[in-house]
C-alpha cells in the first residue's frame, strides 16, 4: 500500500494504482485524451504529463503506477509548459472546422485549449496536413481524419470491448491515420459509442449530425427500454424534442450503450406516432375512440380477456389488472410472462427484448390471473369475444387469435406496432413522456424520468385505463401512476 503525495496532499492507494486514478481520488483533475477508465492504457497522447520528483523527465500519469514516497506535481511550470506544447503539437494539423463540427461544445481540444493553452498557432494554415474528410463509415458514423489526434480510443474500443477489431492505425509518423481493416465494416452493434469516446470530432454520429448544437441540449437521466438490460441513459433534448441518448455510466449495469438502444427515442418522432385513436384503419379523436372501445367491452361483458405486457411499466400493468378485476369483472386476465433473460452477446444486449418481464411478476403476485397457455386455449376455443392488451403483447398470441373471431383492442404508441386485424387502438404516452417503473433482468428497479411532454391529448396508459373504466360505469380512482402501484410489493 504505497503512500504518495500529489500537489502537497498525501493519499494511500492500492498497489498498481496509476497516478491519474490516485489524483482523481484526491479530486485533482489531470487532462487526458487517450486514457479511458474502461479501456487499456495507451499513453500516446502525452496530455497527462506530470512532474515526479527524482524522475529525470515528466511522466504520463495514466500509465505510471504509484510507488511508495512518490511526490507528484500537476501544476508546476514545467507541467504547464508541457501541456501547452502538447496541445500545440496536437493542433498543428487540426483543421479550423469548429463551425461545422458537431463535436464543438463538448470537444476535448476546445476545452483543454481554453484551460491550458490559449496560445496562437505558429504554423500557417496552408501547411496543414490534408486528409480524407466526411467519410461515411458504417451505418452510424462519419469519420473525418483531419480532425483525428490518433488517441486510438476507437481502435482499443473495437478490439477490447466489442472484440471485432474493425479499426486500425494505418501508416507511421505523421502519415498515420485511422482506417478500417481490409474486408471489415464498422457495423458492430455498439459503433455509436465510438462517437462518444472520440475526444475530438473525428468520429461523429450520422443520426445526430447537424441536428442541434450540443450547448443547446438539456440533459435528463432516464432509462433505456430497448431490452431487459435496462441501461441507464442520459437523454439530450431541447424544446420538447429528444436529439440523442448517451450512456450514463454506472457500475451495476452499463458503461456503454448499444446502437439499438440509442435509437429507441426515434419512435417518438416517427411519422407513425399515434396522436389519435384508430378504429379498424381510420384515425379518430381520442374521446370517441375511448367511447367505442368501452362500448365494445360492455357488449362483450362476460367474455372479455385482459392481458398485461412486459413492454409496459409496473404502473400501467397494475392499472390493466385493476380494470380487469374491478371494471370488466372478468377472471380471464393474464400477467404471466416468462422469457429467458440474460446478456446475449457478453456486452449489453439481452436475450429478452421486453424491458419489464421481471416487473410484471409482482403484478401477477398481487392480482393472480391465468397463465398465457390457458388464455391462448380459451381464445382458440372461441370463449373470448374481446381481448384488451398492449400491441406488442398481442403479437405473442398471434397463433391463438388467428381464426378465433376475437376482437382485439390494443394500446399502442406507434402505428407500426399494431397487430394485423386489431379492432381498436388507443394511444398512450411513451416512457420518454411519462414516468414509469421497470425492473431489469438483474432485479434492479428503474424509474424513467420524462425529458419531453407527450403530444397534446395523449395520456399515460393508466389514465386511459381509468377513463375506459369510467365510460363503463366503474371508478378505478387512479389519479396518478403511484395510485396504481398501491398493493404491489416489489
Amino acid at each position: 500500500m504505497p503512500t504518495i503525495t500529489i500537489d502537497g496532499k498525501s493519499i494511500e492507494v492500492e498497489k498498481g494504482t496509476t497516478l491519474l486514478a490516485a489524483a482523481q481520488k484526491l479530486g485533482i483533475y489531470i487532462p487526458r485524451y487517450c486514457y479511458h477508465p474502461k479501456l487499456s492504457i495507451s499513453g500516446n497522447c502525452r496530455m497527462c504529463l506530470v512532474e515526479v520528483e527524482k524522475a529525470p523527465k515528466l511522466l504520463t500519469a495514466c500509465s505510471t503506477e504509484a510507488a511508495e514516497g512518490m511526490v507528484v506535481r500537476t501544476t508546476s511550470d514545467k507541467v504547464k509548459a508541457a501541456r501547452r506544447d502538447v496541445l500545440e503539437y496536437l493542433l498543428i494539423n487540426h483543421p479550423l472546422d469548429c463551425p461545422i463540427c458537431d463535436q464543438a461544445g463538448e470537444c476535448g481540444l476546445q476545452d483543454y485549449y481554453m484551460d491550458y493553452s490559449l496560445a496562437r498557432s505558429r504554423f500557417s494554415m496552408a501547411d496543414k496536413v490534408r486528409r480524407e474528410k466526411r467519410r461515411p463509415i458504417g451505418p452510424n458514423l462519419v469519420l473525418d481524419n483531419e480532425r483525428c489526434i490518433l488517441c486510438t480510443r476507437c481502435v482499443r474500443f473495437c478490439s477490447e470491448v466489442t472484440k471485432t477489431s474493425e479499426l486500425e492505425v494505418m501508416n507511421r509518423g505523421d502519415h498515420s491515420y485511422i482506417d478500417l481493416k481490409e474486408g471489415k465494416a464498422l457495423d458492430n452493434g455498439y459503433s455509436l459509442n465510438i462517437a462518444d469516446i472520440c475526444p475530438v470530432g473525428a468520429f461523429t454520429s450520422r443520426d445526430f449530425r447537424f441536428k442541434q448544437r450540443v450547448w443547446f441540449l438539456k440533459r435528463t437521466k432516464t432509462v433505456c427500454l430497448g431490452c431487459a438490460t435496462g441501461c441507464l441513459v442520459e437523454a439530450h433534448h431541447n424544446e420538447n424534442v429528444i436529439y440523442r441518448l448517451v450512456p450514463d455510466p454506472n457500475p451495476e449495469t452499463n458503461t456503454w450503450l448499444c446502437d439499438h438502444g440509442r435509437l429507441t427515442y426515434k419512435a417518438l418522432q416517427a411519422g407513425d406516432r399515434l396522436k389519435k385513436g384508430v378504429i379498424k384503419n381510420g384515425l379518430i379523436e381520442l374521446e370517441p375512440a375511448l367511447r367505442e372501445a368501452a362500448t365494445r367491452i360492455d357488449e362483450a361483458r362476460g367474455a372479455v380477456a385482459v392481458m398485461g405486457s412486459p413492454w409496459l411499466s409496473i404502473e400501467d400493468n397494475a392499472a390493466l389488472a385493476r380494470l380487469a378485476r374491478d371494471s370488466v369483472k372478468t377472471g380471464d386476465y393474464c400477467f404471466d410472462f416468462n422469457f429467458e433473460q440474460g446478456i446475449k452477446d457478453g456486452i449489453l444486449i439481452n436475450k429478452d427484448q421486453a424491458p419489464n418481464t421481471a416487473g410484471v411478476r409482482p403484478v401477477k403476485a398481487a392480482y393472480g390471473g391465468i397463465s398465457m397457455g390457458e388464455l391462448a386455449g380459451r381464445i382458440a376455443s372461441g370463449k373470448i369475444k374481446l381481448l384488451l392488451t398492449e400491441a406488442r403483447a398481442a403479437a405473442l398470441l398471434k397463433d391463438a387469435l388467428k381464426d378465433s373471431g376475437t376482437r382485439v383492442v390494443v394500446f399502442a404508441a406507434n402505428r407500426g406496432e399494431i397487430p394485423a386485424g386489431a379492432y381498436a387502438t388507443l394511444p398512450y404516452a411513451a416512457y420518454f413522456e411519462t414516468p414509469g417503473t421497470f425492473i431489469n433482468y438483474q432485479g434492479l428497479r428503474r424509474r424513467t424520468t420524462p425529458p419531453v411532454a407527450a403530444p397534446e391529448g395523449v395520456k399515460p396508459l393508466w389514465d386511459v385505463v381509468n377513463k375506459l373504466a369510467s365510460y363503463s360505469g366503474a371508478s378505478l380512482g387512479l389519479d396518478s401512476g403511484d395510485d396504481a402501484l398501491k398493493g404491489i410489493s416489489f
Binding site: 463551425p99 461545422i100 466526411r134 448544437r213
Partner: protein, 186 residues
C-alpha cells in the same frame, strides 16, 4: 447623502401674477408656429419614415438591417454554426442546418430566420460569426410595418451582396475556398 440644490425662484411681478399678459405671450408663440407650419408644411422636420428613406451617416460602425453574404457560386457563406443564435440576446435568430452533398463545406443553413420584431440591433451576431457571413450594413433601418410577418426575414430575403462582392477578404473557410477553386471560381 442627498445633495440639496437651493433654488432662488424670482418672485412674480404684478403683470405676471395677472396671468393674462403671459397667457397671451404663450398663445402668440404657439399661434406663430401653427401658422408657420400651416402655410409651409415642407418646413416640418418630420420624416415620413417607411416611404421616405432616412439619410444615414455612412458610418462604418453603423448597424442597419442584417444580410447574409453570398459566395461566388451563389451559396451562402453561412455554415450554420449557430454562433449567432447562441450570441443573440433577443433570441431572434432561428437556424436549421442541413448537409451539402457536393460542396466540401458540408454544412449550410436550410432555414435562417431573423425576427426583426424581436431584434435589438446589438450586432452580437456579427461579432460572433466565425465565417464573416452575416453583416449589418444594408443601410436599411427595420421598422414601420403594418404586419408582424413583414418583420420576419428569411434566408431568401437575407441573402444579398453589396456592390463589389463577393470578395474573399476576411473569409475564414478553407474548405469553401478549395471548393470554389476546384470549380474555377475565386
Amino acid at each position: 447623502m442627498i445633495s440639496v440644490k437651493k433654488v432662488n425662484n424670482k418672485p412674480l411681478n404684478l403683470l405676471e401674477r395677472i396671468y393674462l399678459y403671459e397667457i397671451a405671450r404663450g398663445i402668440a408663440v404657439t399661434t406663430r408656429h401653427f401658422f408657420a407650419n400651416l402655410f409651409n408644411p415642407k418646413g416640418l422636420p418630420t420624416i415620413q419614415y417607411p416611404e421616405q428613406p432616412v439619410p444615414l451617416y455612412g458610418n462604418a460602425r453603423f448597424r442597419s438591417r442584417h444580410r447574409l453574404k453570398v459566395r461566388s457560386d451563389g451559396s451562402p457563406k453561412c455554415v450554420a454554426c449557430f454562433m449567432c443564435q447562441t450570441a443573440c440576446p433577443a433570441y431572434c435568430i432561428h437556424i436549421e442546418a442541413a448537409e451539402y452533398q457536393e460542396n466540401s463545406v458540408e454544412k449550410y443553413p436550410a432555414v435562417f430566420n431573423i425576427d426583426l420584431a424581436r431584434c435589438v440591433m446589438c450586432g452580437m451576431c456579427v461579432e460572433a460569426c466565425p465565417e464573416d457571413a452575416i453583416a449589418m450594413d444594408t443601410e436599411e433601418i427595420p421598422g414601420g410595418a403594418a404586419d408582424r410577418t413583414e418583420f420576419l426575414m428569411t434566408k431568401e430575403s437575407l441573402l444579398r451582396n453589396r456592390p463589389g462582392e463577393p470578395s474573399l477578404k476576411g473569409a475564414a473557410n478553407r474548405l469553401a475556398n478549395e471548393y470554389l477553386g476546384s470549380r474555377g471560381e475565386q
